[in-house]
């Protein structure tokens, strides 16, 4: 058997150009299949882990998926806001252990600026773990000390990407940056007082400020237009604002943690029946499931495409070997003369095809891991997906197994041809 491995390899090596191409086509199909599956698995894990501590997400009534995406994953932008009074009411509910306001809209170098309260740092959990500090501390309470209005906390990724350290002065950008109405808050530079440890959650990519700081930066901004542009003189009169007057009118969302998770339905009902403002309270798990339902179509399409590519790669392996078989009749006759039976010939050609497919699968797996490794920074920064290159998952093994079985089935075609030819030709193949 070991002899046959080496022998089949030498025979295949002599036809390496054509075989290398089909091996690559097998590898590409495996690459597509594995990458789709791994991205899906990693995306799901990253998304559900990011939400592990939040029981309810509250926002203006609308799409649950949208609310979750912009408030937790900072994907997309809120189209409407909820009233601040709603947040105050939620805070006072007895079942609520903590409630954190989320104000969105500004960015720092493309990273979302989150206006919130220091409660976030003590209550928010990601991957089941609370937040901890790489450097510095949380921003202070501006109601107690006005200086806290100038403080900012950075997520690990933001600090790493720009090499920021404690004490750095940052200028936030109004809006997402780049648009004609987007302008820097140059008059309100903020000082870095804390840098969070990496969590793998979207918070790593965020810049966090006090809700009041967020308000202060926008004082006098009418319809999203810089007051400086409107009324330069008036803008200069803005002196240190009074924290007491910086209570916002509206919020993008509120994250809620409960004392007891079993209260989640009653609290949701209570929140959604607050009269003055049509609110929506979403359970992150449910919203995620809804999201996966939507994404599933795309996923399945990609898996289907991967499977079709795999099938066509297998067919091309079979076709290449089948075409080569005509030129190998002499080889078969020589082996037959040395006592190799037609059945062994079948096994010999099958072995070659299986070797090719195995190599292709191995190559595809390596390529997909290489790709994940190369793209992991991009995926984390852009999409908050934490990929874990490594051993294929159970499902990946399943699809690799499926590819392997299809490979063997496809290989049966040239192998059968070898069997038939060696029977028909015997010692005397037609001279070409």
């Amino acid at each position: 058997m070991i002899f046959w491995f080496g022998f089949a390899w030498q025979s295949a090596w002599s036809r390496r150009q054509a075989l290398a191409l089909v091996t690559i086509s097998v590898a590409v199909s495996v690459l597509i299949l594995l990458s789709v599956q791994q991205l899906r698995d990693d995306a799901r894990r990253s998304f559900s882990n990011a939400l592990s501590g939040v029981d309810l997400i509250v926002g203006p009534r609308g799409s649950a998926t949208e609310l979750m995406l912009y408030s937790v994953f900072q994907l997309g932008r809120p189209s409407r806001n909820m009233g601040y009074a709603g947040f105050q009411e939620i805070q006072t509910m007895p079942q609520v252990r903590w409630a954190v306001p989320i104000q969105l809209g500004d960015t720092y170098q493309g990273h979302p600026v989150l206006g919130t309260t220091a409660t976030l740092f003590t209550e928010f959990k990601s991957q089941g773990q609370g937040l901890s500090w790489a450097h510095g501390r949380a921003f202070g309470n501006p109601q107690l000390q006005v200086a806290a209005l100038k403080e900012v906390v950075l997520g690990a990724e933001v600090a790493r990407r720009f090499g920021h350290q404690l004490g750095d002065q940052l200028v936030m950008t109004h809006g997402a940056g780049g648009g004609p109405e987007d302008t820097d808050h140059e008059d309100q530079p903020l000082t870095v007082v804390g840098i969070l440890k990496a969590t793998g959650a979207p918070i790593d990519r965020s810049v966090l400020v006090n809700l009041e700081t967020f308000e202060a930066m926008h004082q006098g901004w009418g319809l999203g237009i810089s007051p400086r542009a409107l009324q330069a003189a008036q803008a200069q009169q803005i002196v240190t604002p009074d924290a007491k007057n910086l209570e916002p009118v509206s919020l993008s969302a509120v994250w809620v943690g409960l004392h007891n998770r079993s209260d989640v339905f009653s609290v949701r009902r209570k929140i959604e029946s607050i009269n003055r403002d049509p609110l929506m309270a979403v359970m992150p798990g449910v919203a995620l499931d809804e999201l996966w339902q939507v994404v599933k179509v795309v996923e399945n399409t990609l898996v289907l495409v991967g499977l079709l590519v795999a099938a066509s790669a297998m067919l091309s392996v079979a076709a290449v070997l089948l075409v080569a078989m005509a030129g190998r009749r002499k080889e078969l006759a020589i082996l037959r003369a040395m006592g190799v039976s037609p059945k062994a010939m079948l096994g010999y050609v099958l072995l070659e095809a299986v070797l090719i497919c195995f190599l292709g699968i191995l190559l595809g797996e390596l390529l997909s891991q290489g790709l994940m490794w190369a793209a992991q920074d991009l995926l984390r920064v852009q999409f908050g997906v934490l990929v874990q290159p490594g051993w294929p998952s159970a499902q990946a093994w399943l699809s690799l197994g499926a590819v392997g079985i299809v490979a063997v089935l496809a290989s049966l075609l040239p192998a059968w041809q070898a069997y038939r030819l060696s029977l028909v030709d015997g010692l005397h193949p037609p001279t070409v």
Binding site: S14, A333, I334, V340, P342, L427
Partner: protein, 228 residues
């Protein structure tokens, strides 16, 4: 006396055609060489296929190395050929993707009994291959070369080495000299027959070339159509 071949009343025909082979009686003692002479297309190669066990015998008796070929199934016939016979073709005997030595060693890789026989007689298959190559006048320098760099005559010698590896009892040769120059034909044939004889192997060779016949113990001239 052991017989390498014993054919009697052997008849072979393609379906719906007149018999291609009709041999009343033919005996070849072990160690002797048989020359089968006839024009091309007369059925000589089919006879070799029957002797080698590639095709099933239809009618009559065909004993090869003491085995009645009609009693063996295809797997047993393949095994008999692999373990106790060597086959040499007219040309293209060698696999192009392995070198000359690897080609010569193939029978001992495929059948452990051949490797064992080679080791018993020469110490190792490689040693036997070297010894055979020397007897057949093959330079050791050619041994590691890719097959396509060898001349036709050199290739035929490698094929002869391969056929003789592991002490087979019967060498079946189908026009092994016809791809060679006239001067080289006799030289190659003499070396092949001598080396086979030194191992006690019988050689059955078919050829259209009557000039070679006097080197053999027995000659079977294929009956012409009219005579049949």
């Amino acid at each position: 006396m052991r017989l390498a071949l014993h054919l009697s009343e052997l008849i072979h025909a393609w379906p719906g055609q007149a018999p291609l082979i009709r041999i009343d009686e033919l005996q070849l003692p072990q160690g002797q060489h048989l020359f089968i002479q006839g024009p091309s297309g007369c059925g000589k190669s089919t006879l070799l296929s029957l002797l080698a066990g590639v095709q099933q015998v239809q009618h009559g008796r065909c004993e090869v190395l003491g085995h009645d070929m009609r009693n063996l199934n295809s797997v047993q016939r393949d095994r008999l050929r692999g373990e106790q016979m060597g086959v040499i073709f007219q040309q293209f005997n060698l696999l192009p993707f392995i070198n000359a030595q690897a080609n010569a060693l193939l029978p001992t890789k495929l059948f452990p009994s051949r490797a064992a026989a080679a080791s018993k007689a020469f110490g190792s298959p490689v040693r036997q291959a070297q010894s055979l190559a020397e007897s057949l006048g093959l330079s050791a320098l050619l041994w590691q070369q890719p097959v396509h760099q060898l001349s036709v005559g050199q290739q035929q010698r490698v094929a002869a080495v391969r056929a003789l590896m592991g002490q087979p009892q019967l060498i079946i040769a189908d026009e092994p000299t016809s791809a060679l120059d006239d001067t080289k034909q006799l030289e190659f044939l003499d070396l092949l027959l001598e080396t086979a004889a030194s191992q006690g192997a019988s050689v059955v060779m078919v050829s259209h070339n009557a000039r070679l016949a006097d080197r053999f113990h027995q000659v079977y001239v294929w009956p012409t159509k009219e005579a049949a």
